[in-house]
């Protein structure tokens, strides 16, 4: 399918990395915002808004607050974005064959996605702002709570396909019935886990504006903030792709990619607007008491049925 003749490195800049990811990240952010707005009976932003925000932030002065480790302060957003971009290499973006693929790339992808959250937590802990520190603690607490169930939920399809390689799972999913049907619990946990990962409401207590302003990102401005936001947007696209690949019958072509990820995004936006924010203790409780157990039960069923 992918028989372009450009140099692979240049190709990488355009697709699946670089430009394509940036554009799709911004696009998905807009769709998300627009959908939430429509669910709330508002108008919502115009499609150019995320780009405008990005350009504005990039053009702004970046202020480094007192008392931070400067190199760390500047490098963290870059690392976060880079991690998110790298993660895209192993995922069937837009339904194409991933740029790189090897045995066990699922684990690598998941950990690359977590690097963003880790960077965020570090960034918050790096400053002396009280809001940022509380935000950082909450970010990391949340990371530890959703990570295990999310991983377990993605393990289900991998076990079914008997491979740790995303392309294999993709291929397997295309051949079989949608795993959202065969493994409904896993699908639910994965979807909600994605919301936790992206700190979307109701799991947005790490950046609850009414309590701790912007959480870990309170002290960030200008470029650093823009990069973090961009990283999150890209994570949104990758996360959606991953869940769609695993649970919605794989991604064979761009049309399928669009339909499936956008469908997921609609559900995600609806979930975002349906609930009140959970407190951090409630989030942790929910994940460990409900999420992890459910995912484990799903795995157990899988093992028993094999």
């Amino acid at each position: 399918m992918n028989n372009l003749t450009v140099h692979p490195l240049i190709g990488l800049l355009l697709f699946p990395g670089g430009l394509f990811l940036l554009a799709s990240g911004l696009l998905y952010e807009w769709i998300d915002r627009k959908l939430v707005a429509r669910f709330q009976n508002r108008v919502g932003p115009r499609f150019i808004q995320p780009l405008a925000d990005l350009v504005k932030l990039l053009a702004k002065e970046e202020i480094s607050p007192e008392g931070v480790n400067k190199p760390l302060f500047f490098i963290l957003p870059v690392v976060a974005l880079a991690a998110a971009l790298t993660a895209a290499l192993y995922v069937p973006m837009a339904g194409f064959v991933p740029a790189g693929s090897f045995r066990g790339d699922l684990i690598i992808t998941l950990y690359l996605l977590s690097v963003l959250t880790l960077c965020l937590g570090l960034a918050g802990a790096n400053t002396i702002s009280r809001f940022a520190i509380i935000g950082a603690t909450r970010t990391l607490t949340q990371l530890f709570s959703y990570e295990a169930p999310f991983l377990l939920a993605l393990l289900g399809p991998a076990i079914a396909a008997a491979s740790w390689q995303i392309t294999d799972v993709d291929f397997y999913a295309q051949q079989h019935l949608w795993m959202a049907v065969t493994q409904p619990i896993g699908f639910l946990v994965a979807l909600v886990g994605l919301m936790g990962k992206l700190e979307l409401p109701p799991f947005d207590s790490p950046e609850a504006e009414t309590e701790i302003v912007a959480g870990a990102m309170t002290e960030y401005s200008g470029r650093g903030y823009a990069l973090f936001r961009l990283g999150k947007n890209i994570e949104l696209v990758i996360g959606l792709t991953l869940v769609a690949t695993f649970y919605l019958g794989g991604l064979a072509n761009p049309v399928q990619f669009l339909i499936k990820t956008l469908g997921l995004l609609v559900v995600l936006a609806a979930l975002q607007s349906l609930f009140a924010r959970l407190r951090i203790d409630q989030t942790v409780g929910l994940w460990w008491r409900v999420g992890a157990l459910l995912a484990l039960a799903q795995l157990l069923v899988l093992f028993l049925l094999r």
Partner: protein
């Protein structure tokens, strides 16, 4: 009472197929209500110069400048930027010469000058402005 998840589900689904409640204000204007208290307008023909309106104005937004008491030559200087649009002056006026317009209510400007409005017969206002200009010129020329 039963505890449920997602009690607003019906709302959000319905609103997807509904027009947004947001008004795109500068492009979309609703008609103003009849009683809207906008700009103050003054009809000089009925005024007797009793100054009752000025007495109770909570924000010193109106001044009545008497040019000729006997000939009933008055000019009303109205400071839109000070006005609180409470309509007390309209209530106080026994001759119904004050009124609040329900159409002009967009009062934004980058400087203060347009907010001082002179009401009165054209010749009176012209006379006053000329006099003020003369006084100003005299003042600045005088002291040094």
């Amino acid at each position: 009472m039963k505890i449920r998840l997602g009690t607003m589900f019906g709302d959000i689904i319905r609103s997807l197929f509904r027009r947004p409640a947001t008004q795109l204000y500068p492009y979309e204007r609703r008609p103003t209500p009849e009683r809207l208290r906008g700009n103050l307008v003054w009809d000089p023909s009925k005024c007797t110069g009793c100054q009752l309106c000025i007495k109770d104005c909570p924000s010193d937004a109106i001044e009545l400048i008497v040019l000729d008491k006997v000939a009933k030559k008055f000019v009303l200087r109205y400071h839109q930027d000070r006005c609180t649009y409470c309509a007390q002056c309209v209530v106080n006026c026994r001759f119904k010469c004050l009124n609040m317009d329900d159409q002009t209510w967009e009062l934004a400007s980058v400087n203060k000058e347009p907010f001082t409005v002179y009401y009165g017969k054209d010749e009176d206002v012209a006379f006053l402005l000329e006099k003020m200009a003369r006084d100003n010129a005299g003042e600045s020329g005088c002291p040094e």
